[in-house]
Amino acid sequence: MRSLFLRLRRRRSMERDVETELAFHRDMAAAHGNPTPMGNTTVVQEQARDLWRFTFLENLWRDIVYGARNLRRSPALVIAALLSLGLGIGINTGIFSMAVEFLLSEPSIADARSVVLVKFGGNSHAKKEVVEFVRASGLFQDVVGENEENYINWNDGAETRQIFAVELTKNYFSALGVPIAYGRGILPQDPDEVVVLGNRFWRSRLRGDPAVVGRAIRLNGRPYTVVGVLPTDYRSPIGFGYSPDVFVPRYQDDTILAIYARLRPGMTVAQARAGLAAVARRLDQAIPEAFRYADGIHVAAVGGMDRIKSETEMQTVGLFFAMLLMVVGLVLTIACVNVASLLLARGSARRQELAIRLALGAGRGRLVQQLLVESALLSLAGVAFGLMLRQAMAAAVEQFDLPVPIPIRLHLTLDWRITVYAMLLAVFTTLACGLLPAWRSIRHSIAPSLHREGRMRLQRALVIAQLALSMIVLTAGFLFLRNLWRSNAISPGFDVRHTIYADVNLPPGAYKEVARQRNYVAQALRELTALPGIQAGAGARVIPFNQVTRFMIGLELTGTGRKVRAFFYWNAVTADYFRAMGIPIERGRTFLTGADAAMLPVIVNRTFAQQYLADRDPLGRTFLWGDIKTPYVVVGIAGVTKNFSLGEEDQPQLYEDLARLDRGSTRVEFVASSATPPATQLQAVRAALRRVEPNAGLEVATLYSSIGLAFLPSQAGAALLGSMGVLGLMLAAIGLYGVMVYSVSRRTREIGVRLALGADRRDIAFMVLESAVKLILIGSAAGLLCAFFLVKPLAMFLVPGLRPSDPVSFLAVAALLAVTGLAAAWGPARRAAAVDPMTSLRYE
C-alpha cells in the first residue's frame, strides 16, 4: 500500500528529481577531487522508472493497444477467430448454464440449506396425517407437505381446461419463505378456496395483469381467490425447471404429500435422521400401514451438492452433463487449434518484425507476452460474443415450451458461476490459441534456418490433432444418433401409431362416489366407440409413459401357501384395453362382465408369470393381496409392454379390472384405437367426452405425441452431440483446407519445376491429395484409438443392445471423416495442378 502511494505521488517529479540528485552527486565528486563518474544518467533514470512506474501494467497496456492495432489490420483473422471461438464458448457456457440449473440450482425458498426432504418407509409421499404427526412431534422448526403432480380444472369463462396444480398444506408459503411477486402467499388462517398463481400461467393465460390479485378464478367449479403471483424465476423444490400453473391448499382427501421440513437452528441432518427414527417408531403405532415407517427413512437436502450426493438420478443427470461438457470442450479445442494455425501463419509473416525487435534488445518474455496479449484479446472478444450467444440461447429457452407433457421453464441466469466459467475458458483459449504460435515465432526469429520444415510439421501435427478430436466428438454424436434410431425402432409393446388417449379430470364434488365414476366411464366409452373410425375404446388408470404406479407388496399364493414379495407396475383397465392398445393376450382371456363376484380377476404379463408364478401353470392361479380378504385370480397372460422408458428391461405387470376396482378416482384415462390417422380424430373424441361431462378437465392427444418424452433423452443427446460432431468436423475440415492451401502455395515453385520437367498435372494433384490422405489417416487412427476408450462410459445412456465399442459406428465415422477431409483437400489439389510453370518459376 505504502509503496503504491509513494509511486503515485512520485511518478511525476521522478525524472527531474533523479536528474537533480545525480547532478549534485557529480558536483560533490568533482569538489572532492574524485574522478567524475562515467555512469550513464539515462540508465539510472530508466532503472528508477522501472521501479516507480507500474512497469508491468504499463507494458501490458502498451501491448494491448499495439495488439488491437495489429488485429485491426487483419479483419479476416479477427472474424474467423471471433466466429469459431465465440461459437465454441457460447455452446460451452450454454451447456454449463444448463448443468448449473439442473444440478446446482436451489429452490426458491428462504435459506434453502436448512430445508430437507423427508421420506418414510421408502415412500416419496405420505398421508396428510403423517405430515401433521411429524409437525406435532416438534422435531423440526416447521414441516410442510405438497403434492406437485396434480391437475385441477380451470374454467376461463368459456372452456374448462386441465392445468397443473400443486396441492399443499397452508403453512407451505410461510414456513418455507417462498418469494412472491405480487400479493402474498397462502397463510395458515386462509380459507380453502385461495390460490397462488405460477408466473408462466399468470402471464400466458391471464395476460400478466397484477390486478388479478384479490379477484377469483374458477377451479373445479368453485371460485378461488387469487392471493398472490409467483416471480418469474421461481424454482420449485423438485427442480428441473418444473413450473406448475397454480398452487392451492390440499383439496382432495386422498392426496398424499411429499414432506419438507425446516431444521431447527444448529440442527444437523444426522440429528434430524436420528430424531426421525424415533418419530417413525411412534408413527408405526399411531397410523399402522402395510409397510413400516421406520424402514427406509430418508433425509435429503433440496439443492446443491448434497442433493446430488443423495439422489441417484441426479448423479445420472450429472454424468450426462459431464459428458456433454467434455464433448463441447473438445469442439472448443478444435476451434482453438484453427485459430492457432491462423496465428501461426500470421506469425511467419511477422517474423521480420519480431527479429528486428529481438535484435534491438527486446526481452523474449516481453515478446511472448505481447503475442499472448493478442490471443487474449481474441479470446476475450470470443467470450463476449459467446456470452451474447448464451444470452440469446437462454432467452429462447425461457420463451420456448419444451415438447414435453409437463410445464418446464428453465431460468438460465447469467450468475457468477457462469461468468467464472467463461473467464476460465478465456484463459484456456488464450493459451491454447496463443502459446504455441508465440513460442514458435520467437524461436524462428532466432533461428531462421529452421523455420520452413519445422512450421509445416507443427501445422500438420495440429491438423492431425484436430482430425483426431473431431473423430472422438463424431463417434459420440453418431452413437447417440444410432441410439435415436434404435429407440425409434424399439416397440413399447403396444400400438403407438393408431392410439388416441384422453386424460379426464372429473369435478370432484359431483363424482365423490365410485359408482358415479364407473357410470361415467361406461357412458363415455359408449360415446367413444360410437364414433366413426374408432375401432376400440377402453378406460384405464394409468397411461404408460405418462404416469406410473408401482407396487411392492406381499402376495400369498393360495394353492401352495407360498408367499412372494412382488414388485410390479400396476394398472386398472376395462376389458377392451388390450384390444385398443394392441397388446396381445397370449393366454387366457380379458375381463368379462358379470364374472364370478367372489374373485377379483387380474391379468398379468409374461414377465410377472415367469417371475412369481412359475412353479405351476399361472393361468387360474389365485392369490391374496396383502390383507385384502377377496382372492385374486389370474384370468389372462398379456404381452410385455414398456412402462416408463424404452430402454427399460422387461418388468412384471399386473392389470386389475377397472369396472370392479373399489378405490375411486376422479381422474380417468381413456384410450381408443383409430383406423384413420389418430390426429384427425382428436376433435371428435374431445367433443364426445365433453358431451358426457361438460365440467370435466379434458386433455386429448395422440399417444405418440405424449410418448415423446420417452424419446427426449436420446433425441436431445442425438441432436446435441450430432450437431457438435458436425461442427467439429467442419472446423477440422477448415483447418485441413487451410494447411493444404498454405502448403500448395509454399510449394508453387517446386510444382512449377516438376511441371516444367514434364510431370503430369494429374500426378501433381495426386501428390497433394496424398499428403492430405496421410494426415487424414494418421488423424483418424489416433482419433479411433482415443474414441475407443473415451466413448465406453457412454453405454449407460444407450438403449440395451447398442454397445459403444460397436465397430459400425467407428467405420461410419472414419468414412465420413475421410470423405470430408478429401473434399477439403480437393480444392488445393486442383489449384496445385493448375499452376502455370512459367509464372511460378519467374516468381521470387
Binding site: 537533480t20 540528485e21 569538489a31
Partner: protein, 112 residues
C-alpha cells in the same frame, strides 16, 4: 556492482551497507557512497549506477525515507534516513551476513 579492480559486491550486500551507513543519521547519496568507501578502508567503491537504484528500491520497500534538504555547501540535496522497519531489516540482514561470512571463512580456513 563495484568496478573491476576493486572487490565485487555480493548481490544484496549493498542494501546492507547503505542501511548500516545510515545508522549514524540522515545522509545524502554522495556521502553514503563516501561513508562506505571510507569504512571499507577505501576498498569498496560504490558507483552511482548501482547506488541510486538501490536507494530508490529501499525507499519503496520502506526501509529508508527520503526528504529534500540543504547540503553542507548550501545546495539542494536529497537526504536519506533509516526507518524503524529498516532498522529491523538491518539487524536481520546483519545476522544473516555474519553467519554467511563466518561460514565462508571457516570453509576457506580448512583443507578440503
Amino acid at each position: 556492482m563495484a568496478k573491476s579492480g576493486s572487490p565485487m559486491l555480493l548481490q544484496g550486500t549493498l542494501d546492507l551497507l547503505i542501511m548500516h551507513a545510515l545508522q549514524r543519521g540522515p545522509l545524502h547519496g554522495y556521502s553514503i557512497a563516501q561513508t562506505i568507501h571510507l569504512l571499507s578502508d577505501q576498498a569498496l567503491k560504490v558507483e552511482e549506477g548501482s547506488l541510486y537504484p538501490a536507494l530508490y528500491r529501499l525507499e519503496l520497500d520502506g526501509a529508508i525515507a527520503a526528504h529534500w534538504g540543504v547540503s553542507e555547501n548550501n545546495r539542494k540535496a536529497k537526504y536519506y534516513e533509516i526507518t524503524k522497519r529498516g532498522k529491523k531489516l538491518l539487524a536481520a540482514e546483519q545476522r544473516t551476513w555474519s553467519r554467511l561470512s563466518l561460514a565462508v571463512q571457516r570453509v576457506l580456513a580448512r583443507q578440503p
